[in-house]
């Protein structure tokens, strides 16, 4: 049976800046997390200078998806990589508020600091373990 799954990821590399943009489109839930993790794993393998995770095209996000985003963020932490998460839709902002994770949105880390604890300062004072 074919399920109505419109999920897709795309990534674009800017070789001049070393930035990788990973964009998510469609319904991002437990049934599509594996596809995201495959794509995000490729991004980590590239060891880019900067990563932008664009969720603007995600029209549904569940807790499994949020867990996958947190794992992606954690995988980047040992690298000298900045991460920016773009989640502009009101429902996305609301989800990150509910889960106490608003601090990871639209923040950038600097080299040697945990991702998301750069300029704006998250609620944590130590790296995730």
């Amino acid at each position: 049976m074919t399920t109505p799954n419109n999920f897709a990821t795309t990534f674009a590399v800017d070789s001049a800046t070393g930035t990788v943009q990973l964009a998510v489109v469609g319904e991002f839930d437990s049934s599509t997390v594996d596809a995201f993790e495959t794509a995000s794993g490729r991004v980590v393998d590239l060891e880019p200078t900067a990563v932008e995770l664009d969720l603007a095209g995600a029209d549904l996000i569940d807790s499994a998806a949020i867990g996958a985003i947190m794992r992606f963020r954690r995988a980047l932490q040992p690298l000298p990589t900045t991460l920016k998460i773009n989640a502009p839709l009101p429902f996305q902002q609301r989800l990150f508020e509910i889960t106490g994770l608003s601090f990871i949105l639209d923040t950038e880390a600097t080299t040697g600091q945990p991702v998301g604890e750069g300029n704006q300062g998250g609620p944590r004072s130590s790296p995730e373990s």
Binding site: S30, A64, F103
Partner: protein, 140 residues
């Protein structure tokens, strides 16, 4: 999809999380459309509840389908039934799970975005009831 009877529709889902998207599609074609904020929040909450039920069946090796029943009389309500071992109906009441946590966010989200959500749970199964938003009532 099971036979509709009177004011309700029954959807039986095999124990595969890909079926959740199918259930969402059926509900979106059956119920009044929600606005751009309500839709992803409500169907996100529905996804959390159905995924939990399917994962409970898979964890326990339960062959029964998860049932989604949509009551259409008056204000619609969606009930999700599983045959698992039950859980604490107050689970997910903590509004702020640890940021590092890999799990435990699903019911927190569902409770936060679906006012009036309620849970009946016993050692032989659980029912989670999700009142469908009315257009004048923000999901949250």
């Amino acid at each position: 999809m099971g036979p509709g009877s009177g004011d309700s529709i029954s959807i039986r889902l095999s124990n595969d999380t890909e079926m959740v998207a199918f259930a969402r599609l059926v509900l979106r074609h059956t119920l009044e459309p929600l606005d751009d904020l309500q839709d992803p929040l409500f169907y996100g909450a529905f996804t959390e509840v159905v995924t939990n039920a399917i994962e409970e069946h898979r964890r326990l090796g339960i062959a029964h389908d998860v049932e989604v029943r949509v009551s259409l009389g008056g204000r619609p309500e969606i009930a999700v039934r599983d045959h698992g071992q039950g859980f604490d109906p107050n689970m997910g009441s903590d509004p702020q799970p640890e940021p590092q946590s890999e799990s435990g966010r699903g019911l927190v989200i569902a409770r936060s975005v679906v006012p009036g959500m309620r849970i009946e749970s016993s050692p032989v199964g659980s029912m989670v009831f999700l009142p469908y938003p009315v257009r004048s009532e923000p999901a949250e």
